[in-house]
């Protein structure tokens, strides 16, 4: 009996510990961050973080975003790097979200100014679901986050399972082309990038999947694309109505005029803000790409 009581007591203790503040989490820069109470004012110092906050209905807590954010309902804090610490300080945030390694130096500065920082850096679909849950925990919304992540995951796996059943040689060969006009530099996604994973999950074969660069992204020569002759070319656009121009940019490369993708008109514009941002919107992208790859039914 006493033993049972003790177990009960310990369990109560643990549950209090787990379910209530203070909470300590390890962020993606490997820093332990402790939250004494539920944060009420949040600065999203990178557009990526904003999506997670919006998905968890936390828009009323966002007090600051960068000028690159598509969410405009909060105070503008300027650049991602260098970060405007003065501006952030006046917003009195309980936590500042930063993204990736390129803001790592800024994290240090923010901390010196006495701000609490939580850095996220999702690089795979699993990372994205984990980040969603972490942010849910921080804002005492872990149940909602878990549910959301479960739904997204099953949506993704529903497509992915269908795609896995397609034999490799029947899958479309896909090339992602982000063309920097003027320099003719072409960036693409390789091994280790989330977009490579997105293409694979949607049932495509990324022609640059065997190569890699910083965070999985790399520049690629035009001739390589000719030799691989992809079936589909994905190209990003960055504003509504920019789709036509993006397609035109791909078509303007003379060397590529004989590619299967171009002859068959399989140049697919994709939202540049989504493909450059590892967040939950990628699940919908996977669904969309699957439909594009296998439109007209499985052959």
């Amino acid at each position: 009996m006493r033993r049972a009581l003790l177990v009960l007591f310990v369990m109560c203790l643990i549950s209090i510990f787990v379910l209530s503040y203070p909470i300590t989490l390890v962020d993606d820069l490997g820093r332990a961050v402790t939250f004494e109470k539920e944060p009420q004012r949040v600065v999203s110092a990178a557009p990526v973080a904003t999506d997670y906050l919006l998905k968890l209905d936390l828009s009323n807590k966002i007090v600051g975003v960068t000028s690159f954010d598509s969410y405009k309902e909060a105070e503008n804090i300027g650049n991602l790097v260098p970060i405007n610490i003065e501006k952030i300080l006046t917003l009195k945030p309980d936590v500042v979200f930063t993204f990736g390694g390129f803001q790592a130096g800024e994290v240090e500065k923010l901390e010196k100014a006495g701000l609490k920082v939580f850095a996220i850096n999702p690089r795979t679909m699993d990372d994205i679901f984990r980040t969603l849950i972490n942010i849910g925990i921080i804002f005492n919304k872990s149940e909602q986050a878990k549910k959301l992540s479960r739904n997204l995951k099953s949506k993704m796996l529903g497509v992915a399972k269908k795609a896995y059943n397609v034999p490799i040689d029947k899958r479309p060969r896909v090339f992602f082309a982000s063309i920097y006009q003027g320099t003719n530099e072409i960036w693409t996604c390789g091994q280790g990038s989330f977009l490579n994973e997105v293409i694979s999950l949607a049932g495509g074969v990324n022609i640059t999947g065997n190569y890699t660069g910083p965070n999985g992204w790399l520049t690629i020569g035009m001739e390589f694309v000719v030799s691989e002759n992809p079936d589909v070319i994905l190209t990003p656009y960055y504003y509504e109505g920019g789709q036509e121009e993006a397609i035109k940019a791909v078509k303007s490369i003379k060397l590529w005029s004989n590619l299967k993708a171009i002859k068959n008109n399989k140049i697919i514009p994709v939202d540049g803000n989504i493909v450059s941002s590892p967040d939950t919107r990628l699940v919908d992208l996977i669904v969309k790409l699957y439909k594009i790859f296998y439109s007209g039914g499985d052959k």
């Binding site: 003065e86 501006k87 300080l89 790592a104 130096g105 100014a113």
Partner: protein
């Protein structure tokens, strides 16, 4: 006629210093967040004001203005000394490639931090200093023509060294961009996010560097007559050149590893100082320091207020002001 403002220097200098202090305080009220001037004054004398504003003034803007002042002062003094001992009016840490060497060292150190355990090789300041010194030496040896440093040759070799190290910096950044904050920071400089530890480090290095150069101002005078003349005046020329290279690289590397590359300050300011106060290094070194400090603080205030809340790299502002002066000096010198 020594210089426009030289007459009665004993009277002018205290006012000059007081003016600078007032000017620095005035700059504390500029920035992306508007803070009224009287609040700045209150917080400086220790009175309580709204806590956020107090943090901004005492922990962000005060060290920032100090770092700006010290960096401007040091760069200008290095420029002044280099122009003197190389007998070349266009010498400056940026033109000679010292800054890009230092930046490359700093960036390389950050990149190496994940591979090399040995602290010495991954210490940013040390690497920055070593590469600053290396780039100085390379520039000097390319330009050196039987002990003479022709103006054009010095600039050309500086351009080459600049190119080499800027490309190398970009190369490292492309390969390790997850670890390296931002290429514009290293290539164009920014005072954003400097704190008291940076200010204290710069205070020590500037105090040491500037005072040593001030003690050697007579040797700089002698060197500006030519190396042989300096020798006949008892200057140990080779040793003095080495001292200048080491000291210049040291000061530049400390600045570059704190605020990135800031161009043209060391070029423009000494000319202004000489115009106003005369060529004698006993006076042009300290006045270069003061004018350079004020110049960089002003540029930083412009950089952080012009397109607020976004901050501009400070190097853009200094280049806008410095490049035309550079062209003017080059034209004027090549003609005479």
């Amino acid at each position: 006629m020594k210089g426009i403002l030289f007459k009665g220097r004993k009277l002018i200098l205290p006012f000059f210093a007081l003016g600078i202090v007032l000017f620095l305080i005035l700059n504390l009220s500029f920035g992306s967040v508007h803070i009224p001037f009287h609040e700045v004054l209150l917080s400086l004398i220790g009175k309580k004001i709204e806590s956020v504003n107090e943090t901004i003034i005492l922990n962000i803007r005060l060290p920032r203005v100090l770092v700006g002042f010290l960096a401007g002062a040091s760069l200008s003094v290095v420029g002044c000394a280099f122009q003197g001992f190389l007998k070349n009016p266009l010498a400056d840490p940026y033109i000679l490639g010292i800054s890009s060497g230092g930046a490359f060292g700093a960036v390389l150190a950050i990149a190496l931090q994940q591979f090399v355990g040995w602290k010495w090789f991954s210490n940013m300041e040390t690497m920055s200093f070593l590469f600053a010194l290396l780039s100085t030496m390379i520039t000097y040896f390319i330009a050196n023509n039987k002990g003479k440093l022709p103006i054009t040759q010095l600039i050309l070799s500086g351009v080459i060294v600049n190119l080499i190290f800027s490309s190398a910096t970009t190369f490292v950044i492309v390969f390790y961009w997850r670890n390296i904050a931002n290429s514009t920071f290293w290539l164009m400089g920014s005072l954003s996010g400097v704190f008291w530890d940076d200010a204290i480090r710069l205070m020590i290095s500037s105090a040491v560097g500037i005072s040593i150069l001030m003690f050697f101002s007579e040797n700089l005078n002698a060197m500006s007559l030519g190396e042989e003349e300096a020798m006949y005046l008892g200057v140990n020329v080779e040793r003095f050149k080495l001292l200048n290279f080491v000291l210049g690289s040291f000061l530049t590397s400390v600045i570059v590893s704190t605020i990135g590359i800031v161009g043209f300050v060391g070029l423009v300011v000494p000319h202004i100082a000489r115009l106003l106060f005369g060529a004698n290094h006993k006076i042009s070194i300290p006045t270069s320091a003061l004018i350079g400090g004020v110049f960089l603080v002003t540029c930083d205030s412009i950089a952080r207020s012009l397109f607020q809340p976004t901050e501009m790299p400070i190097g853009i502002i200094t280049s806008f002001i410095g490049a035309p002066v550079f062209i003017f000096i080059l034209k004027w010198r090549l003609r005479s």
